[in-house]
């Protein structure tokens, strides 16, 4: 590339919003490239959560007094913001959970295990899923006798879409897929997959943990039945997640947690349930987390999700071009940034990914190493582990340059 790509976000201003990015690690500038694991938090989010505890901490939906009303207003306000963020029809389609993992388990348990599925009914997943979108379905297989089938990936790391022709049958009841792979960065054609699922009468369950933080999502356009994501990967606090569901899909789902909030009436030995989405929110929820996530959504909305996506495409394109010129370094997943999010898995000849991460750490650079909770995908590519750099709104081309310089240090150590 002749000249650096134009960066679409004002990254220096964004970096200034993130207190952690002002610190040093091993006396170096912190270069945080592990947002696919968890993102950093802007001061607006940190302030919003502490503000809740400092000014209006009270339980939601029950307290009659002013503090409780404020807490409920902010908590429900966050639900509205999140509904708008993914273009849901109504806030009632938004369930707060603790994580993507919990959201997917709620569906696997309540729609799969305790819902409509019969023994022999089929669930079609893919080999590129995160463990969180594998293991809950194993439960449905083990305890309900469901049959699990998987769509393979091409060597480039895209789904072999033609396999849906054979895998989808009248027995298919659930089709599940990640909107974006946490290893390859592949963005999957979920709208088409949902359409195919509906043609055989199945529901489409989407793991959007890696997508919701990084690209615009329109659940009505995608026409998916369930969609799960986490707050902490999108500038929000840990311990707060979201399950979107179409009203009829949520109505057909049994609650996982019994307790407070999720009930209408309780008598000795029996209870009736609250309406959705509250039916799925047994126990005092993560109120501060939900409010913090609402502010994270405000922050992202202000940047504009189209701009966020365009920015990450630029950074990823720059990284791919730089990596292309590094001898002895291999990257995985699509090379076309139109098909890829800002996730870059790579290996370096003669250096184990853990050693790569250790040496980069000395340089102040945070990358992930390991199997990225996607062992079936790693097996598919015959890889024990990879290193992974992932980009977000606070990363710029300078961060990519730091990574490339760090990789050269790794190669010096293991030359």
């Amino acid at each position: 590339m002749a000249k650096p790509a134009k960066v679409l976000l004002n990254v220096p201003a964004i970096k200034a919003d993130f207190p952690i990015l002002q610190r040093k690690v091993h006396d170096r500038r912190l270069v945080y490239l592990d947002s696919a694991a968890t993102s950093q938090k802007p001061k607006q989010v940190i302030d919003a959560t502490s503000d809740f505890y400092a000014r209006y901490n009270a339980n939601v939906h029950r307290a009659i007094y002013e503090l409780g009303e404020e807490a409920t207003r902010e908590y429900e306000g966050a639900r509205e913001k999140i509904a708008a963020f993914i273009r849901a029809k109504s806030p009632n389609e938004i369930v707060f959970t603790k994580s993507t993992t919990e959201s997917l388990n709620v569906v696997a348990y309540g729609y799969g295990l305790k819902g409509k599925l019969q023994p022999g009914d089929e669930i079609v997943g893919t080999v590129m899923e995160h463990h969180s979108n594998h293991v809950p379905w194993h439960f449905v297989k083990d305890h309900k006798g469901a049959v699990l089938k998987y769509v393979d990936v091409t060597d480039e790391g895209t789904l072999r879409m033609e396999q849906y022709d054979d895998l989808l049958t009248k027995r298919t009841k659930i089709v599940t897929v990640a909107l974006c792979s946490n290893v390859l960065g592949t963005i999957n054609p979920v709208k088409e997959i949902a359409k195919r699922a509906h043609e055989v009468g199945a529901v489409c369950v989407v793991d959007a943990a890696q997508a919701a933080p990084h690209m615009p999502i329109d659940v009505q356009d995608l026409d998916v039945d369930f969609l799960a994501f986490s707050g902490h990967k999108m500038l929000g606090p840990t311990g707060i997640g979201v399950l979107y569901g179409k009203p009829e899909a949520l109505e057909a789902t049994e609650p996982l947690l019994g307790g407070g909030e999720m009930i209408r009436e309780v008598h000795l030995g029996r209870a009736s349930w609250n309406d959705v989405p509250y039916r799925f929110e047994g126990g005092t929820p993560n109120i501060a987390g939900a409010i913090g996530l609402g502010v994270a959504v405000d922050y992202l909305t202000k940047l504009g999700m189209d701009a966020v996506r365009a920015h990450e495409m630029e950074v990823t394109q720059y990284a791919l071009e730089k990596f292309e010129r590094l001898k002895g370094v291999k990257t995985y997943g699509p090379k076309d940034v139109k098909k890829k999010a800002g996730v870059l898995a790579f290996t370096i000849d003669n250096a184990h990914p853990h050693d790569v991460a250790s040496i980069l750490d000395v340089e102040g650079i945070c990358v992930r190493s390991g199997h990225h909770c996607a062992q079936p995908l790693m097996e598919r590519f015959d890889l024990p582990a990879t290193a992974r750099a992932s980009f977000y709104v606070y990363n710029d081309l300078e961060d990519v340059d730091a990574l490339v310089a760090g990789i050269k240090r790794v190669q010096e150590v293991f030359a």
């Binding site: 853990h354 050693d355 040496i359 000395v362 390991g370 024990p384 150590v413």
Partner: protein, 130 residues
Amino acid sequence: MPATYDLYQDQILDHYKHPRNKGPLPDATLNARDSNPLCGDEVILHLNLDGSHQVSEVRFEGQGCAISQASASILTTMLKGLPRADVEALNQDALLKKLGIPLSVVRLKCALLSHHVLRLALGDKKTDRA
């Protein structure tokens, strides 16, 4: 190279790049294998004792990060010729001292995998993966 590269001292890199006693030992009497589920590091240890219960032959196989593999290589050099009682008595600290590098909690698991496999080979079922 800055001093903070403490982890990758010459001894570690030397044992990683040029492992000692590496390969199979088909007639070994004591064998064990384990892997670190977090990172996939794998160590297999083979030991033979002679008539006077001394380690006559020791080999390791495996794959993984420099720390885990160098640790296994260094461990084999510590074991050769040792009476069984001394092998039994060889604790984690002895190996860590020999490695001589500062280890975080996560990398400690890499460094001690070979010791854990040694304990397995000796028949210790309660050995801790560190």
